[in-house]
Amino acid sequence: MPNITLDEVDVVVVGLGWAGSLMAIELAKEGLKVRALERGPDRTSEDFAYPKPADQYAYAIRDKVFATPREAALTVRYKREETALPTRKWGAFAPGTGVGGSGLHWTGVLIRPTPTDLKLKTYADHAYKRGTLDPDMRIKDFPFTWDEIEPHYDFFDKVCGLSGKTGNLRGQVQPGGDPFEGPRSSPYPLPALHDTLNCSMFADVARRQGYHPFPNPSANVSQAWTNPYGAQIAPCNYCGYCSKYACLNYSKASPQTTILDVLKRMPNFDYKVNANVIRVDLHADRKTARGVTYIDEHQREVFQPAKIVVLSSFQFANVRLMLLSGIGKPYDPVTEQGTIGRNYAFLSNGNATLFFKDKHFNPFATAGATGEMINDISPGNFDGPKLGFIGGAKIHSSQSSGAPIGAALPPGTPSWGKGWKEGMIDWYGRSMTIGITTTCMSYRGHYLDLDPNYKDPWGMPLLRMTFDWRENELKLQRYLREIVLGLAKDLKPDAMSENFLALDSHWDITKYVSTHNVGGAIMGSSPRDSALNRYLQSWDVHNVFVPGGNAFPQNFQANPTATIGAITLFAAEAIKKQYLKKPGPLVQA
C-alpha cells in the first residue's frame, strides 16, 4: 500500500459536521491553517435542490444521507456476558455521513438543558437520600458553570437563527416561554414558527392542567436571518422534509447553511472528502499527536501531519478512533479503571396518538420542529425524589412531517391491502401525537469498547456497545405515560394508540428513537473518571480535542445539538486564547 504524506497543517479536523465546522471556522478565523477530512462525500445545495429531497422513500426509508452500516456499523449487546452482534441496518439511531454530517439531516430542535441538568450529580446528591438511586448509576456534573457556558449557547443560537419564545431573560421569566430554562443573556434571535392545530390543542390542555407550554425551540427558522458569520438562512416554508432530509430551502440551520459558505472562502481552510480517518498517530512519548492517517477514495493510506487534531466525527466514531489510536486507557466495567468508553447513554421516547374524526391537522404543512412542549417534568422541577427515580422528559406534541409512508392509523386498521387503503382515506391527517423525549442516566455497565470478533473492511475492530434499559428509566417512562394519557384523554379523541416502555422492556434497536447517542469519551474534572477536560482536551494527549455528544456524562431531556455547539465553541475559545500561546494541558490534573 503506497504511503502518501501531505503538507503539515496547524489543525486537522476529523469529520465536517456541526462540531467540525464550528471548530474549523473558529480556528481558521484565528489565522491557523485548517484542513478538514470527511469520511463521506461532499454535499452541496445542488444535491438537495427542490424537489429532490421531497422523496420519503429515498431519504427516510432508504437512508439516502446516512452512513451505511458498511462504513459505520457497530456491534450491540445488552450486558457484558453476551456476544455482541453487528448492526446490519439502522434502527434506533442513524448517524449521518458526508459534509454536514448529522447536522444536515437533523430535525432542527435546538434546545438547551437547564442549569440543573448540567449539574445533575450535585442535584442528585442534594435531593435524593443516599441509597435511593441505583448503586450502579454513574452520573456526573458537566465541568463548567452556567455562566461560563451560556455565552456559547447564546452565540450558537445566533449561528442557527433559533426561533421560538424566550422563557428567562437574564433572570426575568417571560410570558409564553419555558419558565424552567436557565437565564439567557439575549432573547431568542427570531420569533416562533407558526403553530399548527396540534400545537394549540396541546398547549390549551397543558395550560388547563397547570403546565407551562412553549413552542419547540426551532432551528427551522421563522424569518430570513443573517448569522454572526454573515451566512444567510431562509424563512421556512413548512414543507415537512426536515428530519432525515437535507433542507431544500436553506431554512434549516446546518453546517451548509450557517458556516460552510463562509469557511470555503478562507484561503487557509480546505477539506477533503471520502477521507476515512483510521487513527490518530502519536509521537513516541504518547503525550502528543503528530497527525492522522486516513484511507482516501482510491484506498490509499495517507498521513496528514498536524499540530492540533480535532476529532469531530459522530459520537461513537470519536470514541472508536480514540480506542484505535491508544489515546487514554480503555474503560473496564469490572474494575472501573480506564476512561475511554465509559458513561455511554442513549434516550427513550414514547407517545400516544390521538385520532379525531372531525379534525384536519394538515400534517403536510409543517416544519420539522413544529410543536409545543412542556419542561415541567425535568430534574428539580417535579417530585422525582419521592417517586424513586431521577430524570425527566420533554413532553410535547410535535408534528414533524406529513409524509405518507407509515402514517398513523387507529388501532385495528390493517397494515396493508384494502383495509389499509380505507384507513388511510378515513384517517390520514386526522391524528396528533403527544410524546416524550426522556433523560437517560449513565451506569457502570453501559459502555463502549472494541469488539473482539467483528472487523471493518480495513481490518479494524468495530465498536461494541453494551446497553439496556435500567429500572430508573423504565419507572420514569411509566410515570410519564400517566401524564401523557392524562393530557390525551382530556382532549377526548375518538380513538387512541399508545407506545411506552413496560417495566420489563429491553432496549429495542430496531425501532427508531433518535440519533442522540452520548458519552463514551466524556468531559469531567478528573482524568481518573473522564476522558476529556472541560475544554474537550484529551487528558492524555494534549493536542487532541474531541468535541461532540461523546463528551456528555449522561443524557438530559433536551436535544443534544445546542450543547454540542456550545461546548465546541467553549473549547475553540480555550484553544485560541490559551492553547496557542502555551500548548500543553489546559487543566492541571
Binding site: 435542490a49 427542490y50 424537489p51 451566512a231 431562509a234 424563512p235 431544500l248 436553506y250 459558505d261 472562502r265
Partner: protein
C-alpha cells in the same frame, strides 16, 4: 466561453511588443491600479479560471468568429511587459496596439476613453509591477471576413467612438461626479446597459444623452435601464453591487460575473458614488403596462385558496411558492421578490424564461458569503408549461407584461442548449 453581440463582434487585444525599461513604481500606485483593474473588470475577459491571472486566452464568441483575449501580464514577449505608458494608454483608451493595429471593441476602449491620465498611470503601474508575468500565448483570434480586416475598426472608431475625456455635468455633487466617472469609464456599464445601434455602437457615450444606460438587450437577455433606479434605494444598489443581492432582488445572468469579479471588490465609497449617480439620472420614460395587473391582494387570495387554478397558477404553487410565497414577496436578501421585478416585467420575457429554465445562483462575496441557488426547472417543465408559468408571473400581483408563448421558451431553451 463568453459570448458577445455582434458589436463586440469586433474586438480583441493582441498586443505586440516594443519596449522601454520602467522604473519600479511605488507600492501605493500599484495598489490603486489594482483596485482600478477590479473596477474595470479586466480579469473577467483576460483570465481563464484556474490559469495564470491576466494571461488571456478567454474565448469570446462575437457571432462572427472567436476572439481570444490577450495576455496582459508583464511578460515581455507574450504580454505587455514591453509597453510604454503611452502604448498602454493607447491600447486601453483608443483600442490601438503597440504595433499600430486595431483592437476589436470586445475591449471596451470606447468606454475606457474616459479614464483619467492619473488612473491610466496607476493601471499601468499595476499591470507592469503588480501582476506576475506569464509566458502563455493565447490562441489567435479567428474572425470571419470582413471582420478579420482589423483596419476596418479604424473607420468604426472614427464614426462611433467619442474620444473626449470625461466631463462632469453642471450641478453634480462631488459624489455623483465620482460615480459618473466610474460608470462612464472604467465600469463600462454602458457597454451592456446602453442600447446599441445598427453597427453595434453604443447609442450614447455619456450622461448627457437620455439614451445612456437606458437598457437594451444582450445575447437575448433584456438588460434593464439603470436610469434613476426607481424601485431601488441607494442602499439597494450598493447591496446589489457588493453582494449580488438586495432587499428585493438577486443577481442573475451576465451580471453575476460582474459582481463576482468586479463590483464586490470595489471600495465602499466608490460603490456608494455609483449608486448616488444612478439614482441622480433622470429616469427613462415609463411605458404603460401592457396588461392590467390582477392586483397583489387578488393574486395572493387566489393562490391561498388554491381552487379553480389556471395551469400557470398551479405550476407556481408546485414549483415556486415555496421560496417566493403566495405574495410574490420572496424573502429579504434571500429569495427575490417577483411582484414588480424588472426581469419579470421586461418587454422581452427571455431573461425570466432563462432563469426558470437554467436557475440562478448568488455569488459568494465577502459581505454575503452564502451561495443561494434557485434550481433549474428546464428538465421539469415543458416549453408550454414554462410559457404558462411565465405568463402567470407577468400578470400576477402588480405585474403587467405581455403573455409568453411556448415558441419564445423554445428559443431560449435552444440558446441554453447551444452553450
Amino acid at each position: 466561453m463568453k459570448r458577445l453581440t455582434t458589436l463586440r463582434a469586433i474586438a480583441a487585444l493582441c498586443l505586440a511588443a516594443v519596449s522601454l525599461a520602467h522604473a519600479a513604481p511605488d507600492a501605493a500606485l500599484v495598489q490603486r491600479g489594482e483596485s482600478l483593474a477590479r473596477m474595470g473588470d479586466c480579469v473577467a475577459c483576460h483570465s481563464v479560471p484556474g490559469k495564470a491571472p491576466y494571461a488571456g486566452g478567454v474565448p469570446i464568441d462575437s457571432g462572427h468568429g472567436i476572439i481570444y483575449s490577450s495576455n496582459i501580464t508583464p511578460d515581455r514577449q507574450h504580454g505587455i511587459g514591453a509597453y510604454t505608458l503611452q502604448q498602454f494608454s493607447d491600447a486601453v483608451r483608443k483600442g490601438v496596439r503597440a504595433d499600430g493595429t486595431n483592437l476589436y471593441p470586445a475591449m471596451p476602449y470606447p468606454n475606457y476613453a474616459k479614464v483619467s491620465d492619473a488612473d491610466i498611470q496607476a493601471l499601468y503601474a499595476y499591470f507592469l509591477a503588480g501582476v506576475a508575468p506569464s509566458p502563455a500565448q493565447p490562441p489567435a483570434t479567428n474572425m470571419q471576413f470582413p471582420f478579420n480586416m482589423r483596419w476596418g475598426m479604424g473607420l468604426w472608431n472614427a464614426v462611433f467612438v467619442d474620444q473626449q475625456p470625461f466631463r462632469p455635468q453642471p450641478g453634480w455633487s462631488a459624489q455623483v461626479t465620482r460615480g459618473a466617472y466610474l460608470v462612464e469609464g472604467l465600469g463600462h456599464c454602458g457597454s451592456c446597459h446602453t442600447p446599441r445601434g445598427l453597427a453595434m455602437n453604443e447609442k450614447a457615450g455619456g450622461s448627457a444623452d437620455a439614451r445612456f444606460l437606458a437598457g437594451g438587450e444582450l445575447v437575448g437577455w433584456p438588460v434593464p435601464s439603470l436610469r434613476g433606479m426607481a424601485h431601488w434605494s441607494e442602499q439597494d444598489v450598493v447591496d446589489y453591487l457588493q453582494t449580488g443581492r438586495n432587499r428585493t432582488a438577486a443577481v442573475a445572468g451576465e451580471m453575476n460575473q460582474v459582481v463576482t469579479h468586479s463590483t464586490t471588490h470595489v471600495a465602499d465609497a466608490d460603490v456608494q458614488a455609483i449608486a448616488a449617480y444612478l439614482k441622480a439620472l433622470p429616469p427613462a420614460a415609463q411605458r404603460s403596462a401592457e396588461v392590467k395587473p390582477q392586483g397583489a391582494a387578488a393574486t395572493t387570495r387566489k393562490l391561498t385558496a388554491a381552487t379553480n387554478l389556471t395551469l400557470g397558477e398551479r405550476l407556481y404553487l408546485d414549483n415556486c411558492a415555496a421560496c417566493h410565497f403566495v405574495t410574490g414577496g420572496g424573502a429579504t436578501r434571500i429569495f427575490p421578490q417577483l411582484d414588480g421585478a424588472t426581469v419579470v416585467n421586461a418587454d422581452s420575457p427571455a431573461g425570466l424564461i432563462h432563469v426558470v429554465l437554467a436557475g440562478a445562483k448568488t455569488p459568494s462575496t465577502a459581505k454575503a458569503p452564502s451561495v443561494l441557488a434557485m434550481p433549474a426547472f428546464g428538465a421539469r417543465l415543458s416549453d408550454a408549461e414554462v410559457a404558462e408559468l411565465a405568463t402567470f408571473l407577468r400578470q400576477a400581483w402588480g405585474n403587467g407584461a405581455a403573455a409568453v408563448s411556448a415558441r419564445e421558451v423554445e428559443k431560449v431553451r435552444a440558446r441554453l442548449a447551444a452553450h
